[in-house]
């Protein structure tokens, strides 16, 4: 089975951002860090976990994004391709899906894996549009992938906490949720070795399109970006008496979030007592 993993490079949005001079946001007080989109990283990891045949990593972008392909090679991809046609800058989802469909046609994989949404654009449309173009099943929100003989078994997250397990006959497009798999650590030594491996670059000729036509695909573009109104963000330092592990957790996750500054309260006690106090709290505010 041949797998194709579609990757994107995104701005590391977990860093504090601020409006930049031009269009996009800028990272506060430091150089921006661009990273492999977390959901795509999960997709790549699932491809490696399935461990079947060739894994090709592909991204669409200018030479600057080759870093993520190197990383993909280090993480276990057997082949890496950067596809780029001038005029694709700022391309919208349908145009991107169209270009990807051409690449898929050329490569002929049984399985196309990608993240269900990117940290930056976040429309989550590309996998679906691609599947539609190819006429393949599209399984999004995947949290687990397996194989049953020749079939792909995907566990999907549905609305309101429902899950379903779907079996599909390849070829299929699977869009994977970020964080659905813990990626293995890839050492610096392995990353360095990946630097020496070849990358393929596909242009218009490889994909069998001409540049002008591709330009015509792009029908919408971002005209301007408005910054969300600044919301005062209070950083609450974790309680110094907690264990180191607990404090790390609170720093890295949100912890109990205050409703309004100073109003957050942690209820402690037995389940019954807590339930009563919760009800009382809601009643006091006329919410019940």
């Amino acid at each position: 089975m041949k797998a194709l993993v579609l990757l994107r490079e995104v701005l590391d949005a977990t860093l504090p951002l601020e409006p930049g001079d031009g269009q996009g946001p800028r990272v506060k007080g430091q150089e921006a860090i661009r990273v492999l989109n977390p959901a795509d990283r999960a997709a790549l990891e699932w491809a490696c976990r399935l461990r079947q045949g060739e894994i090709t990593a592909l991204t669409v972008g200018p030479p600057e994004v080759e870093g993520i392909l190197r990383l993909a090679l280090a993480r276990g991809a057997s082949r890496a391709i950067r596809a780029w046609v001038g005029g694709m800058e700022g391309s919208d989802a349908p145009a991107l899906a169209r270009l990807l469909a051409l690449a898929v046609d050329r490569l002929g994989p049984d399985l196309v894996l990608t993240g269900d949404r990117s940290l930056e654009g976040g429309t989550g449309l590309v996998p679906g549009l691609l599947a539609a173009r190819l006429g393949w099943p599209h399984l999004d929100g995947a949290t687990h992938l397996g194989r049953d003989g020749g079939r792909i078994v995907v566990r999907r997250r549905l609305e309101r906490g429902w899950r379903e397990e779907v079996e599909a006959t390849p070829p299929v497009v699977v869009a994977v949720e970020a964080g659905s798999i813990e990626p293995r650590y890839v050492s610096v030594r392995v990353r360095r070795e990946a630097l020496a491996r070849p990358l393929e670059v596909w242009g218009a000729a490889h994909l069998g399109v001409d540049v002008a036509a591709v330009k015509g695909w792009v029908r919408s573009e971002v005209a301007s970006l408005d910054w969300p109104r600044p919301r005062p963000r209070r950083v609450t330092l974790p309680d110094a008496r907690l264990t180191a592990g607990e404090r790390m957790r609170r720093l890295m996750t949100a912890g109990p979030t205050p409703l309004r500054t100073g109003e957050g309260r942690l209820l402690e006690g037995g389940p019954r007592e807590i339930a009563e106090r919760l009800v009382r709290f809601l009643e006091e505010r006329g919410l019940l």
């Binding site: 860093l15 007080g29 430091q30 860090i33 650590y185 050492s187 264990t243 180191a244 890295m252």
Partner: protein
């Protein structure tokens, strides 16, 4: 009757021949086994010395350890038992050699010389037997639990005892048979002889039997010499000598293929293999190991035993030691410090981690910290742009490339990002300002020293992080590098010189003590608190600095300093080292819990530390205990006059 001993009295030729044959065979066997060990050592990687061998110092040290039993006497009972056996054996062995010389080369044991010789050997034999008996009691009837009650130990000690006892008995029988009056000098033999005579035993046949027995037992000793822990008689001096080439806890770089292949014995260094042969399984390492005490999977003695097994059976070490064991180590080096031969456990565990890191099979917490170092330059994954947030409102000079400064203050990631770490940094900066020290920081140009990466076995990342740091340091000029983190301190002091960054590194306790001594900082109003000092492993043990912090605390009026049972060089880890800060081990207790209990038992209300990692770890244990954890710098600042 001439005053001497007829060496071969009552020994028929065939018995003498059997002795020669037997000892030739058994000594030959021992030599063969010994050469097997040597051959296996030599298959290992050559040692990269952390410091040049100073022969004088090295020999002095070997002499002190071997002849004065310095380390062994850290457990006085063990020290005495071993001392008696050691000198008893040495005397008896030398005596046997002297008899050989007298018999075959230059006869000299006549008259008074012979009498003194006899008396000395009898006393030595007595000491030897007392030592062996004591050792047996310590192992098999009470004594510390660390000693293995193994069959090997039992047989070896019984054999030693039997050799000593049969020697006395045969001497008694000889005296009883020949009755030379001057043999009253052989005090023990004489007493036994009187017993033999009183019981009317057939002295001559008895003597012949005992002589044979004594000879056979001595041969057995040679046979066992290299295949039991008796081996240390040969390996210990060598191990102690080579130990001088290394610094405790300073890790050697990984070999180029480090971790890419299973950790076969050839992938270990020669010294690591020698250490495996040298271990006597005394268990001193396991008795002090914080991971063992907290009920984790790690047992340092077991690791060394497994290394020996790996060497002898030519098996990769990673098939013997489990990841749970290797990741439980905090690299605190308590084991190294306690070991009579300073056998290093943690370097083997780090080698194993290197293997698992390359396979990507590591704890998710460790993986996150490593990726954070790689991507964000700090193991917390904190936004690098916030590196100077600690200095808010303080006039701190951030150095630009080319700047020159007296003291370069290396803040470190804990000091820059962790809330309690920031408290320490602010205190240090304020104290420096008060003390009139001209200092600056690198600001955003600072990044992780790579110490956690190296100790978590990610050597490639360490090298990369360190190269970044070396470059950043090279862009400014300074006289001294100041750090308040014991781990940064260790890295700069012991590991960076090999990377080309040689600079004078001071720990903040040292610099602050200097300022107090020079009167540039005043011990201020009384704090009125009882304080106990938790020595950071990487400061007190790895770098032998435990006085400066005490000077600071002792200078504070109204502050009473009480010591924990495990302090200074023998301090007990907080659990943060070796990546312990990021790895969550669910097995057993938290090491910090144990340490806090020890601190609480002193009755102190304040635990002083001198490393942000210790502060973080111990503060996590203070909930509901009415104790606070403060860096010595914080305490000193509180004590400054307004």
């Amino acid at each position: 009757m001439e005053i001497t001993r007829e060496v071969w009295w009552n020994v028929p030729g065939w018995l003498a021949l059997a002795l020669y044959l037997g000892s030739a065979l058994t000594v030959g066997f021992a030599v063969r086994v010994a050469l097997g060990h040597v051959r296996r050592w030599l298959r290992g990687r050559p040692l990269t010395a952390a410091r040049p061998l100073a022969p004088g110092r090295a020999l002095r040290r070997v002499a002190v350890e071997v002849f004065a039993h310095r380390r062994i006497f850290e457990d006085p009972a063990a020290g005495w038992a071993h001392l008696l056996i050691f000198y008893g054996f040495l005397a008896l062995f030398t005596g046997t050699l002297m008899v050989f010389v007298h018999d075959r080369l230059v006869p000299f044991l006549f008259g008074p010389t012979y009498l003194v010789f006899s008396l000395t050997l009898d006393l030595a034999g007595l000491a030897f037997l007392v030592g062996v008996g004591w050792a047996l009691v310590r192992r098999f009837a009470g004594g510390p639990g660390r000693l293995p009650r193994s069959a090997e130990a039992l047989w070896v000690l019984l054999l030693l005892g039997a050799i000593g006892a049969s020697g006395f008995l045969l001497e008694g029988a000889r005296i009883a048979a020949t009755r030379p009056p001057f043999e009253v000098w052989s005090v023990v033999g004489w007493t036994i002889a009187r017993g033999v005579i009183a019981l009317d035993l057939p002295a001559a046949p008895l003597h012949r039997f005992l002589w044979g027995l004594h000879a056979a037992l001595s041969c057995a000793f040679f046979a066992l010499l290299m295949v039991t822990f008796l081996r240390h008689m040969a390996t210990a001096p060598l191990q102690l000598l080579l130990r001088e080439l290394r610094r405790v806890g300073a890790l050697a770089p990984a070999p180029p293929d480090g971790g890419a292949r299973p950790l076969a014995p050839e992938s270990l260094s020669r010294v690591q293999l020698l250490e495996a042969s040298a271990c006597v399984r005394c268990g001193r390492c396991s008795a002090v190991c914080p991971a063992t005490a907290a009920g984790k999977a790690l047992d340092p003695r077991g690791v060394i035993r497994k290394t020996l097994r790996a060497m002898l059976e030519a098996r990769p070490l990673d098939t013997l030691v489990t990841p749970e064991e290797a990741w439980a180590c905090t690299t605190c080096a308590a084991c190294v410090r306690a070991c009579p031969f300073e056998i290093e456990v943690l370097d083997k565990l780090v080698d194993l981690r290197r293997r698992w890191v390359e396979q990507g099979a590591i704890d998710p917490g460790a993986a996150r910290a490593l990726e954070a170092i790689l991507e964000r330059g700090n193991p917390w994954g904190a936004p690098p742009g916030e590196r100077m947030a600690w200095a808010e409102g303080l006039p701190v000079r951030v150095l630009a490339p080319g700047d020159e400064v007296e003291v370069l203050y290396w803040v470190g990631c804990a000091g820059a990002f962790d809330p309690s770490g920031r408290r320490v940094t602010r205190s240090v900066a304020q104290l420096l300002q008060r003390g009139g020290v001209e200092f600056g920081v690198l600001g955003l140009a600072e990044s992780c020293t790579g110490d956690p990466a190296r100790r978590m076995g990610e050597e490639g990342l360490f090298q990369e992080a360190a190269a970044r740091v070396v470059a950043a340091l090279g862009r400014v000029r300074f006289r001294r590098l100041l750090t308040h983190c014991a781990h940064c301190f260790h890295a700069f002091r012991n590991e960076y010189p090999a990377l080309g960054a040689r600079c004078e590194t001071v720990h903040h306790t040292q610099l602050l003590a200097e300022l107090v001594r020079a009167g540039r900082l005043q011990p201020g109003p009384a704090l009125g608190a009882t304080v106990t000092l938790h020595d950071p492993c990487y400061l007190a043990r790895h770098n032998g600095e435990s006085r400066a912090a005490r000077t600071l605390l002792a200078g504070q009026p109204g502050l009473e300093l009480v010591e924990m049972p495990r302090s200074r060089e023998r301090t007990f880890c907080c659990g943060a080292g070796g990546g312990g800060n990021w790895i969550e081990l669910r097995q057993g207790e938290r090491i910090a819990t144990l340490r806090m209990a020890e601190a609480r038992a002193t009755g102190a209300s304040v635990v002083a530390t001198a490393c942000p990692f210790c502060t973080i770890m111990l503060e996590g244990e203070t909930a509901g205990q009415g104790m606070v954890v403060r860096d010595v710098a914080e305490l000193l600042l509180e004590g400054q006059p307004a």
